[in-house]
């Protein structure tokens, strides 16, 4: 879990240019971290590469917070 969270945090910090302290499990990727729709799609692609998995469009739409991402990845691995 900690390892997955760290990897997700690193990607989000890199892509969205936010401070690492902001990337908490409760943070909403769009509302709190300022990602627009293009940034979300870009992030999903990067996560698919990082974790060697495919995230469907339907699933991607359900993701809101950083914690949602971590839980989804954990549930698939």
């Amino acid at each position: 879990m900690a390892d997955t969270l760290e990897r997700v945090q690193r990607i989000i910090v890199d892509h969205l240019g936010v401070d690492p302290s902001e990337v908490t499990p409760e943070a909403s990727i769009k509302d709190d971290l300022g990602a627009d729709s293009l940034a979300v799609m870009d992030l999903i692609m990067e996560l698919e590469d990082e974790f060697q998995m495919e995230i469907s469009d339907e699933q991607a739409e359900k993701i809101n917070t950083v914690g949602d991402v971590v839980n989804y990845i954990e549930s698939r691995s």
Binding site: H15, L16, G17, V18, L38, A39, M41, D42, M45
Partner: protein, 413 residues
């Protein structure tokens, strides 16, 4: 009477400096910005040299998130526009943003992004192509991002006319101001295509110099031993304002944009029209638009690419447009120092021309060693020259037969 248009600020990203004072000092001391290509492995290419921008950090002008969403040509434009606004001491938040516009073009656009994403597509398939691919690659995005980053909500567009792009952008922006559609325009060109496909493509046209062993001497406009242009990269953005607006806010006026002329060759994809007649017409139209006579022009900042055909036909064009006065005026090619910036050339060279008017110094054509009987005018060889300059032209001639000229003059009230 048309509204008068003046230049009140300038921003430059170039191979010989990415601030106005470094750029100008290098321009009048004849510093070359040409060297071996470092942006990709050019060992298999006929041309292994270019004029690269080496002192640019996008994070000086934008945050990392924004920089990631821009091709290098867009980063250059945003940086040059912010620099120009600062130079003009113009705060858009204190203006009516609807009256501040942007007209910045690129000759080619995001070729670097296109090549990277095409490689990803070939290796990994269509699902791995970035959602930022299209918005980063399209050539109009420099103008789009400059408005997003600065808040300018007035007229917003871009010319795409190969190597004439920058001059078309400035001329078209001037006309927008003259007809009253805006008070201020950020105008110019940007380009960054030192990439494998661009170098391979221009090599296939035999347009690039292959003087790989002497990079600093490769760009040698009007010299008999010229063997092609040297690709450069960068951006030049000028703040154009109606004179009334500039005076009302007490802005420092650098020079006046007095006239604009353009024409089409209707002749060939890449070769200039016989006798350079299309370029002649563009120059004469700019002079007429400025309310000047050919004899009033003291200096021409030439397109002067260092290709055999351009320099020969541009010389003929100047002779045909000016008659006897062609031998009295001074001509120089700044490309001898910073290479050919393609769609950015007109933007950066307008800055060089405006500075020549402001400082009353003509930048030289460096690497002028062997006279060519077909290029027999005064090209300000090798050394900058102090000279009275009241009115000047800046020429840009593009593949497709696009010819664009702007006429600048010293500001007198």
């Amino acid at each position: 009477m048309n509204k008068r248009v003046v230049i009140t600020g300038m921003g430059v990203i170039s191979p010989i400096g990415s601030d106005i004072s470094t750029f100008w000092n290098n321009l009048i001391t004849g510093v070359s910005g040409v060297g071996p290509i470092t942006q990709f492995d050019a060992s298999d290419f006929a041309t292994k040299i270019a004029a690269e921008v080496t002192d640019f950090d996008p994070l000086d002008y934008m945050d990392k998130k924004e920089a990631r969403r821009m091709d290098r040509f867009v980063q250059f434009a945003v940086a040059a526009a912010k620099m120009a606004l600062k130079d003009a001491e113009l705060d858009i938040e204190k203006e009516d943003p609807d009256r501040v516009g942007v007209y910045i073009g690129s000759g080619i656009g995001g070729l670097r992004t296109w090549e990277e994403q095409h490689n990803i597509y070939l290796k990994r398939g269509p699902r791995r192509v970035s959602p930022f691919f299209i918005p980063m690659m399209i050539a109009n995005m420099a103008a789009g991002q400059v408005s997003i980053q600065t808040g300018a909500k007035g007229p917003n567009s871009s010319a795409v006319s190969a190597c004439a792009t920058g001059t078309h952008s400035i001329g078209d922006a001037m006309k927008i101001l003259q007809r009253g559609d805006a008070d201020v325009m950020m105008a110019g060109g940007t380009e960054s295509t030192i990439t494998p496909m661009a170098v391979a493509g221009f090599n296939a046209l035999q347009a690039l110099s292959t003087r790989n062993d002497e990079p600093e001497k490769a760009s040698r406009p009007f010299d008999k031993d010229r063997d092609g242009f040297v690709m450069g990269e960068g951006a030049g953005v000028l703040i154009l304002e109606t004179l009334d607006h500039a005076l009302a806010r007490g802005a420092d006026i650098i020079a006046e944009v007095a006239g604009y002329g353009m024409s089409g060759d209707a002749y060939h994809l890449t070769s200039p029209a016989p006798e350079g007649e299309g370029a002649s017409r563009a120059m004469l139209r700019a002079i007429k638009d400025a309310g000047l006579q050919p004899e009033d022009i003291d200096y021409i900042n030439a397109h002067g690419t260092s290709t055999e055909l351009n320099d020969k036909f541009e010389t003929l064009a100047i002779k045909n447009a000016f008659g006897d006065h062609a031998r009295k005026l001074a001509i120089s090619s700044s490309k001898s120092m910073f290479g050919h910036l393609l769609g950015a050339a007109g933007g950066v060279e307008a800055i060089a021309t405006a500075l020549a008017l402001k400082e009353q110094i003509l930048p030289p054509t460096i690497n002028y060693e062997t006279p060519d009987p077909e290029c027999d005018l005064d090209y300000v060889p090798n050394e900058a020259r102090k000279a009275p300059v009241r009115a000047a032209l800046s020429n840009s001639l593009g593949f497709g037969g696009h010819n664009a000229t702007i006429a600048l003059k010293t500001y007198d009230d």
